[in-house]
Subunit: 475 residues, 2 copies
């Protein structure tokens, strides 16, 4: 960390008006807005490829009052989305951030669709913990198309994205304002000392959009010792805490660091995110059931929030599996790939599935029969899962199976920002001059549990806000 | 904050070998050990009175393998206490700290009894979330006797306790070692700028034992927005976050800051901790029942951990009250005072109680009848409360009532320490040279929920360790 050096204005190797740290959804959204505001912008990225977790994401974006909902005559509002967020978040969410995210969600989606030109599927997904189906998915079920669209826009606008350039420390000027960053150019992650030190100035503002720390075993186990050791994660290898720590070292406020989220839809039969996860998210969970293979019975509302589901899935002795009917399974465009990899398995009869997975067949058959009746009636009398609000397929042959295992997925906590994406100081609770932040590196939006589809919404809402406000500073 | 000033050794107004910040159980335990190790010691305290929350505490101290337990033939062990701590803490606890606290609990108790000369009651208390009765209570049911004993010992040992002296910032030497503190002498809390700046050196170590932040509304609401506003707390007015923030500003690691505990045994009929709380803790909860006045029924295992109980108590529409029989109530030495203040109410008949509090009488009568049968059989078939392990009194006239309201009580989170009470750096995860910490200002011992009686155990175990290790440093 470089402290204030009164009387010595910092000397830089080069200087921009706005410096963005991180090249995922949040960082690129910030960079684009800053450039559109007429600023010179540099994006730095510590890895050899841009995008971080954004490049791996499923591309879901949650939208209050989604245009498609009106078509189906379903009522929604930013208030209802906010209510869902508070409920999943155990009320730990910062109300101003929840309101900004919910109110800005529609514009964030329209920006992706109309300004970036991303093509979304023609139906809405009902994500766990959401009151209504309000989640858009890109046509190919992957966030990479949103990332590509952002990268194309950056190229059009002439925004340089400097890869293998790692933040080393923030540089403060004599007034305690963030005036730039010490970086390592030519950095080879994870070699901490690799690369050449350089000092990059930012005359208007620095936007921190460096993502979460799911891959940082030492850091995450301090905050949740249950996540020590070599647990699997869906994240890219660079999801580590150094940039977050650099911000804390200059007085940014840590919030909710212990709330690290497990994804309740990953497979034990492939590594990381894999190809089965979006199958489970998009068709498996909305149209199938989760059972405990040790009993043949359901054990949870499959559309509960991620925290509730993950906790039930890892309960002692439980062996969670997802069973989906053929009609639903065929909706997933990448089904063949999942079957080929063995992450999704297909059986012609339920008995064959039960036998192959050592599940009590009469118990499993009774579970399916009961759930199919619940589907017909639109009421889940066992776990209160919402069944009325979306298209429903009975679970029928051929049966598709995913053997589930929650993996570490998302850091709900990070540094505190206000609704203007300004990083706040831990002592004064006021903005740290010159420092903005957005995306997974921030905390407070989600509290105890992020809802599906809210990460990209958050990245775009607060990323754009950060870019706009960093451009305005010091006018 | 004072950053490193290479080449300029810090100049101090005065210097000691060990500087202790805070004069509660943890700070005074550290000071005594440092003095016994032959060091010159100064304790500073920002308030006009010593002790902070320790002066208000109930004085309960949890002990694995309490000598009195053996008398009753009940098995206990540090492992069982550790297991109880992990369970209440949702597994967020740091295992090394849990083990150190559990293993050190017996010695901590013996130190209070035999070295400090505190007189404890002749029976053990069964606290919520503990598997067995393992909690000692001073004869007068107040932590003030332990505090007084510590103060007397400090006087005997010639340890100065300088009141109205507030920490302003830590001072680092050129090597990044904590070498002392900027303080304000003659400080008048809460006037931030009051007092005269002074620089106090600490040639061997600084022990931070400044307590929690339950009274710091701005700080606590960042970490748990549900605790915004003028919610009641059991804490003394000086339980604010400035000293914790000073440690974070030099790179101490924040842990579990959002886990702020409500006490499930405070009364809505008196302010703060009051006189009824120890009645509820010591006799009301172990021998009575909690009912929801809106239904006349029990709603929770009264001996569950604090987090579980508080959550149930504040559930929508619930109106929690504690009902205790006469025989149990008379065990509490300060009963008369509680009755006089109206915080404890007495009724000759259950009907009178029900009528006065607008509770459905037949429902309440059925609840009591059922619970008294459960007591007789030793099995709580409703909520699984342990009934077999301690003395049991049927709930009979005269009935005693406390109208409950959880109040903000304790900060489970704080800065990270290792089992040697060394404060750890957020980037390197190694000790910050010269900085030690103990007590409520630290985090990790309790995770999501502290068990009753474990605060004093923690303060004495890690306070003494901090004093010993701060004395050893730079030998």
């Amino acid at each position: 960390m470089s402290g204030p050096r009164p009387g010595n204005p910092p000397a830089f190797d080069e200087s921009f008006e706005v410096l963005v740290i991180g090249s995922g959804f949040a960082g690129l959204s910030a960079a684009i807005e800053a450039r559109l505001a007429g600023r010179s912008v540099l994006v730095i990225e510590k890895m050899a490829l841009p995008g971080g977790n954004s490049a791996l994401s499923g591309g879901l974006i949650a939208v209050a009052n989604a245009p498609l909902l009106a078509r189906d005559g379903i009522a929604d509002s930013p208030d209802l989305l906010a209510e869902d967020m508070f409920k999943a978040g155990h009320g730990l969410n910062h109300p101003d951030l929840v309101r900004a995210a919910a109110a800005g969600s529609l514009e964030a989606f329209l920006w992706c669709r109309d300004f970036l030109g991303v093509v979304f599927a023609g139906s809405l997904h009902h994500g766990g913990g959401h009151s209504v189906p309000r989640i858009y998915s890109p046509e190919n079920c992957s966030g990479s198309v949103i990332l590509q669209a952002l990268l194309v826009k950056c190229r059009e606008l002439g925004i340089p994205i400097r890869l293998q350039t790692a933040l080393e420390a923030f540089i403060l000027d004599g007034d305690g304002r963030v005036a730039g960053a010490e970086v390592r150019a030519g950095h080879i992650f994870p070699q901490a000392q690799s690369g050449t030190p350089r000092r990059i100035g930012a005359t208007r503002g620095v936007v921190l959009a460096s993502g979460g720390y799911c891959q940082d075993i030492e850091f995450r186990k301090i905050h949740d010792p249950g996540l020590a050791g070599a647990l699997e994660t869906t994240n890219h290898p660079g999801a580590t805490a150094e940039a977050l720590v650099s911000a804390l070292k200059i007085g940014a406020t840590p919030v909710h660091l212990s709330w690290i989220q497990m994804g309740p839809w990953t497979s034990r039969d492939e590594v990381g995110w894999g190809v089965s996860t979006m199958f489970s998210v998009l068709v498996g969970i909305p149209h199938g059931i989760m059972i405990d293979a040790s009993t043949g019975k359901r054990f949870v509302n499959e559309l509960a929030d991620r925290l509730s589901r993950s906790r039930e899935m890892v309960a002692a002795g439980r062996d969670p599996m997802l069973i989906v009917g053929g009609r639903a399974a065929r909706q997933y465009p990448n089904l063949a790939q999942g079957l080929k990899r063995g992450a999704i398995r297909r059986y012609d009869t339920l008995e064959a599935l039960a036998q192959d997975q050592s599940i009590d067949f009469p118990a499993l058959e009774a579970t399916l029969r009961h759930f199919n009746l619940s589907l017909r009636d639109g009421v889940d009398d066992e776990f209160g899962r919402p069944l009325a609000a979306h298209e429903r397929f009975p679970i029928e042959a051929p049966y598709h199976l995913v053997r589930l295992r929650p993996k570490i997925h998302y850091c709900n906590g990070g540094i505190q920002i206000d609704a203007g994406a300004r990083a706040l100081d831990i002592a004064s609770h006021r903005p740290i001059p010159g420092l903005y932040a957005a995306g997974e590196v921030t905390g407070g939006v989600h509290g105890a549990c992020r809802l599906g589809g809210m990460a990209i919404t958050e990245c775009i809402v607060f990323g754009r806000t950060a870019g706009v406000n960093a451009s305005r500073a010091k006018d």
